[in-house]
């Protein structure tokens, strides 16, 4: 069994794992970080998106051993000192979530999107979140939330 080590939400972690362990399985089953969800088996739905070294990645599409030495941020690590990240706050304010299952991946993707596009158009947001499927909201309020968060994140 290989040993894998990385930094997750600011903490160094190290575990012995089966070679085939996916990063999402490592986060959920080995670290107990169940905020990252599994919604499909074809890398389509985006429920498992986390940040690796600051960039959004589908954690079902990467082996945990490939994440050796990286810095991972999951949805549990986004709020600081109990204060929601502006993207989380905007999703709450604009009702950008219903059942909440796609939400962690959606928020993590949206944070990365706004980092890359600080002033995104509706079209940019819709195109940028095309890899995250939501079955509840019809995306209308997600788009509103990302627009509002972008404004707030620009300060």
């Amino acid at each position: 069994m290989p040993t894998v080590s990385m930094t997750v939400n600011g903490k160094s972690v190290s575990r012995d794992i089966e070679d085939r362990t996916l990063l999402v399985e490592f986060l959920r089953d080995h670290l107990g970080l169940t905020g990252t969800h599994v919604g499909c088996d074809t890398s389509q739905c985006g429920a498992c998106v986390v940040h690796i070294d600051g960039k959004s990645v589908k954690s079902c599409t990467m082996l945990a051993v490939q994440a050796e030495g990286v810095t991972v941020t999951t949805i549990e690590g986004l709020a600081t000192d109990g204060k929601l990240h502006p993207m989380q706050e905007a999703f709450r304010e604009h009702h950008g979530l219903q059942c909440g299952f796609c939400t962690p991946g959606m928020v993590m993707s949206a944070v990365d999107l706004v980092k890359r596009h600080p002033n995104p158009s509706e079209e940019t947001i819709r195109h940028g979140l095309e890899g995250n499927i939501c079955r509840c909201t019809g995306y209308h309020n997600i788009v509103r939330a990302v627009q509002a968060a972008a404004t707030n994140m620009r300060g």
Partner: protein
Amino acid sequence: MSDTGIGAAVRRKEDFRFLTGKGHYTDDINRPGQAYAYFLRSPHAFARIRKIDTAAAKAAPGVIAVYTGADTNAAKVGSLPCGWVVTGKSGEPHKAPAHPPLAVDTVRYVGDHVAVVIAESRAQAKDAAEKIAVDYDVLKPVISVTDAAKPGAPQVHADVPGNICYDWEIGDKAATDAAFAKATHVTKLDLVNNRLIPNAMEPRAAICEYDSGVDSYTCFVTNQNPHVLKLILCAFVLGLSESKLRVVAPDVGGGFGSKIYCYAEETVLLWASKHVGRPIKWAAERSESFLSDAHGRDHVTHAELALDKDGKFLGFRVATLANVGSYLSTFATAVPSYLYATLLAGQYTTPAIHAEVKTVFTNTAPVDAYRGAGRPEATYVLERIVEVAARETGIDRAEIRRRNFVPPDAFPYQTPVALAYDSGNYAAALDLALKHADYKGFAARKVEAEKRGRLRGIGLSCYIEACGIAPSAVVGALGAGVGLWESGQVRFNPTGSVTIHTGAHSHGQGHETTFAQLVSDTLGVPIENIEVVHGDTDKVPFGMGTYGSRSLAVGGSAIMRACDKIITKGKKIAAHLMEAAVEDVEFSKGVFKVSGTDKNVSMQQVAFTAYVPHNYPEGLEPGLDETAFYDPLNFTFPAGTHVAQAEIDPQTGVTEVVNWVAVDDFGNVINPLIVEGQVHGGIAQGIGQALLEGCVYDPESGQLLTGSFMDYCMPRADDLPSFKVDTTKTPCPHNPLGVKGCGEAGAIAAPPALINAVTDALGIMHMEMPATREKVWRAARSGPLKRAAE
């Protein structure tokens, strides 16, 4: 209106945990010592099982047990039942063939359950399942509903002749025939309501465990109605006392109908948990969801509408074949009958309606309720044929609808297909929708689009639905095996905070907020001091769960009745404290007052006194904790108009939904933010059905061709527009809140609105859903634009 009371757009109480990754979905829960299950599924649509050899699997690393249908059969695990018996034309009850949770000697669809492997890890269970050798005698399957209904079709069940589950009718055939005899115009339409796969984002999952110390079971499961599941599992499948099973449906990641039912997986896990003596966890992979979640829709219909010279509808005749799949799912039979054909009057005064429905078994996954459940199918038939009738007669599409509306002064309105509509103002919604959509300006926009090489179309859908299911005596008379009331419990804690227990279940609908608003507003308790508990049969009173847009109309009404009881008892306590007569005490905004004086005590004081009854009315029970069971008096009837505008690029076949207006009458609205969200999501699913989604089985082999998100086209952010959502209001006259239900409206209204727009753009009468790019491109090449170019 306070900023947290009825009518306020309160931000949801449940959001913090979902936004911070602290939700507790079933697969997030782990039990000490848990093992993992993997189900081996049939690769064939129809086959006899000659032999199953599990020896190699049992010897594989980490395997604890392997069970097949022979084991569950020997243990007398029962058949999964259908909870609604529909009686056909002949007076015969529907055919409900055995539905063993693990196949006994025959598999009937790709994905049918053949064996379960229980192992120390998910991966070991899955690896071992590959070592099970099954000797199949492959049979010729029957896949489409039309093929299955033909004479000589393969027989899915030996005890169901001709594959017909039931042959049912509603309405007056003779009166309808007479109406057609005097018609000046008859519009005819054949159409398919495409089969859909629900795809809630959280795949189904369960953890089941047995506690030998107290001889009882616990089942954590992705479910919309945990008490109903418990009832079915105990009384009909496993023969347990209901006091020996706790079902917990924790945070559930969407349902849309697909998590109403009693499935094979939790049944087998529950049974096996006692045998292996450990908790067992199972979570579906998405591929399994595609194969084995109950699917939706799948109707083939012929419809005829009779009109007089003024475009008034005289009669409506419908014949539908509905696919129920390989086995009857829990409520499969009610959907294409009582939830479908009873809605065929729509918003119109059509005096004579007759509908025949044959439900048919096929070698496909079971079909049951999916968001809207029968009502989208009815609305699609009606709003499509009305559109075609408008085009054939040359009457404006809005005008023909307006001419036939049930007028606002006609309520209660008895339709020819059983339902009695309670309230409505259909023209008001139509007028507002047309205004928002700038209907008058459409012709100019169409011309402008043509200059850009785009075909622009507009489509209307004036829908009605029956929600708030349902008066127990009525559904009982129609064959339902359950009552459809709801429970609500309002429990004051000694220091004045409140815990609400509801039999409804939230899987995205925001009950923790909406129900808290009701109690905050009614009893004057700050909303932050109110918690809502649902989904745990050990905590909440027996309840019927959430589907059919019933939670607020039925469950909310139960909570209001419990609040009434709290106030009644509170007045007695307050009267004692204020040394006044009970009849002189009034209650408002959390304060009990003696009428005409400034004497008062707070709700909080009354609650404290109820639990610390040192100075207390003689003979009155201590405590302030009231439960109510509310059985509705009627269905509720949300209705409205949606207007879709689409532009088609004839070069590529791409349809862009460029504008969407929804005007819905949901009666009173408790939380407009949540209601708008429900509408948005419903429209998205309706647009998905109209343009993108379609379940496809190979017609020969029965293999599911749309078995992943790479093959089944889910609506994504860049497929959809933003929506203009507005409401009109005719309160429901028969429930305490005046509410009607909003969960399904969008999915019901949207498909015909969009297909009406697409066919308008293309200048054709009909196109089957989903209107894919290929279909649209082909139609555009042979449509009016090409002809004009030539």
